[in-house]
């Protein structure tokens, strides 16, 4: 089949399926088939348009525009995430290169990695006495593991030919790290960063329900207002933002894909 036609067809199918979904949702909600007062798709879309048409208003912490809340969440994620990446990459390289670093750090990594980062929330509140810093701290803890483990694994499983070339030329450790190891493990680092970002974006919503402000708090607040359609609006916005973030890393991964 022609590529352009096939692309158009895929698009048409997606639109059609969306229309069917919206109609089914509306019918089910209107007939009260699920529960009473469940918001229909028309109401939700109406809310979505209302929120999106004026996203950045600020009437105090319990009445912020959805864009404002989104930016607050994004800011927390980006700060916590960037700090985590700045720690995880050097630490991962160290763990991948040095047996000593690996055996001394690995027990902590293995023990802490399976813990939900939300468990750190009370610890953060106790130590920092500040919900903003606690949010960033939780995101930091969330983001560090996938990037750290992927980086360390990348270094440990680097194609030995590259290291042999570097060694045979008598390259110093610093040159080998900067000019051979780091570029060679870029795909691993980016894969780790992508998972870190995905998890951070999942966790921020839950964390913010307990912290005040941000898109997670918005959901909690709308639950207190019993406004389910606004929660759906938030879900759509969160999903869309997460998708964009993920696509960004997908784009970077393609750029650094060395495979033949």
């Amino acid at each position: 089949m022609n590529k352009a036609i096939s692309k158009r067809l895929t698009f048409a199918v997606a639109i059609l399926s969306l229309l069917i979904f919206i109609i089914l949702w509306q019918v089910i909600a209107q007939q009260g088939l699920l529960v009473k007062n469940f918001p229909g798709s028309f109401k939700t879309i109406g809310s979505l348009i209302w929120w999106v048409s004026d996203p950045f208003f600020d009437n105090g912490p319990n009445d912020l525009g959805i864009g404002t809340n989104l930016l607050i969440s994004l800011r927390r994620v980006l700060i916590g995430y960037s700090l985590a990446v700045l720690v995880a990459i050097p630490l991962g390289v160290l763990m991948g290169m040095s047996k000593l670093a690996q055996s001394s750090l690995n027990p902590y990594v293995q023990l802490l990695k399976p813990v939900s980062p939300l468990a750190w929330l009370p610890v953060g509140l106790f130590v920092f006495r500040n919900s903003e810093i606690t949010g960033i701290f939780v995101i930091f803890i969330t983001s560090i593991w996938p990037t750290l483990i992927n980086t360390a694994f990348g270094v440990a499983s680097i194609n030995p030919d590259y290291l042999r070339v570097s060694k045979s030329l008598g390259a110093s450790k610093s040159i080998t790290i900067r000019r051979v190891i780091l570029p060679a493990i870029m795909p691993n680092i980016l894969a780790g960063m992508r998972i870190s970002m995905g998890t951070a974006w999942l966790v921020i919503v839950a964390a913010e329900m307990l912290l005040g402000t941000g898109i997670g708090y918005f959901i909690w607040n709308e639950w207190n207002n019993l406004s389910l359609e606004n929660i759906f609006v938030a879900i759509i916005i969160i999903g869309f933002t997460g998708f964009i973030l993920d696509q960004f890393f997908g784009f970077l991964q393609d750029k650094f894909d060395y495979s033949i």
Partner: protein, 288 residues
């Protein structure tokens, strides 16, 4: 042995470039990364033992043996990439302590950095070995060696855009760019098709003639060894592989790959090599 090596360091023109003295290598298995369950095995695997060999300057020497006999280990030791468990590697009268730019290494899988273009791969070698050289100097020298292997037009291509033969030519250019006096090649043409292989063999011969270098070539191809070498070193099957024989190849150069096959001397050596390899391979296959 020791007496001889002291004599060698005099100003004799044909002194040993490389001398291996009682060389042995035992591998000890290491634990894998992040793996709690695998246990390192006790004892080790002895790849090669009691290797004694002398290679004269500017000679072309092939090392041939059944697969898994430790040929590559031997080359890695000479390159200084691994440390021997016992014995010494002496280059121009001095025991080596590690790798050095006096030896250019060429690997079977080309070992080009996929994130660098062809010319950047060569520049990486030059920048590492000659940190004092200016950018323009490095670029010019990299270009010179790329054109030596006929790839000046591919200088801005990435390795994945090149054929296997082209990649290996870049690797040869990279190894020669640092101006080594010894070229160590680990089955460099093993992954190439027959036509490309013959082309690169001829290329290598002409490069060897023009640049004064000693070549140590690991191969499993009898024909390749015969076509290229002054001397062929036969290794026994591993583990604990030893050198079973050294054969001088006194065929006239330049050698023509068609004519050489009718040379009775060629056929004699070939038969001898085939017998040896068959015997050693049988030893490997029937043990396992």
């Amino acid at each position: 042995m020791n007496k001889k090596s002291t004599k060698i360091s005099s100003s004799n023109k044909n002194y040993s470039h490389l001398e291996l003295v009682n060389l042995g290598k035992i591998f000890f298995k290491e634990k894998k990364f992040l793996d709690f369950r695998s246990k390192g095995i006790k004892g080790g695997f002895e790849a090669i033992k009691d290797i004694n060999l002398k290679i004269e300057k500017n000679k072309f020497v092939s090392i041939i043996g059944p697969s898994g006999c430790g040929k590559s280990t031997l080359l890695n030791l000479i390159a200084g990439l691994q440390a021997p468990t016992s014995g010494n590697i002496i280059i121009e009268g001095k025991a080596i302590k590690g790798p050095g730019p006096d030896r250019g290494v060429i690997f079977q899988n080309y070992a080009l950095m996929p994130w660098l273009t062809t010319i950047q791969n060569i520049e990486f070698a030059l920048n590492t070995v000659f940190p004092a050289k200016t950018k323009a100097d490095v670029k010019e020298r990299a270009r010179k060696y790329l054109s030596m292997v006929g790839l000046e037009k591919a200088s801005n291509k990435f390795p994945k855009e090149l054929s296997g033969g082209m990649k290996q030519r870049v690797a040869i250019a990279r190894a020669l760019s640092i101006n080594p006096n010894m070229l160590l090649m680990d089955e460099p043409f093993g992954a190439l098709d027959a036509l490309t292989r013959s082309y690169l063999q001829d290329e290598l011969l002409s490069i060897w003639r023009k640049n004064k270098v000693t070549v140590v070539l690991i191969t499993h191809s009898i024909e390749e060894a015969l076509l290229l070498s002054d001397k062929i070193v036969l290794m026994s099957s591993g583990p604990s592989a030893i050198i079973s024989e050294e054969i001088s190849v006194d065929l006239e150069r330049p050698r023509d790959r068609q004519k050489i096959e009718q040379d009775p001397n060629y056929l004699k050596i070939k038969l001898r090599l085939e017998k040896h390899l068959l015997r050693e391979t049988r030893a490997v296959e029937e043990v396992t």
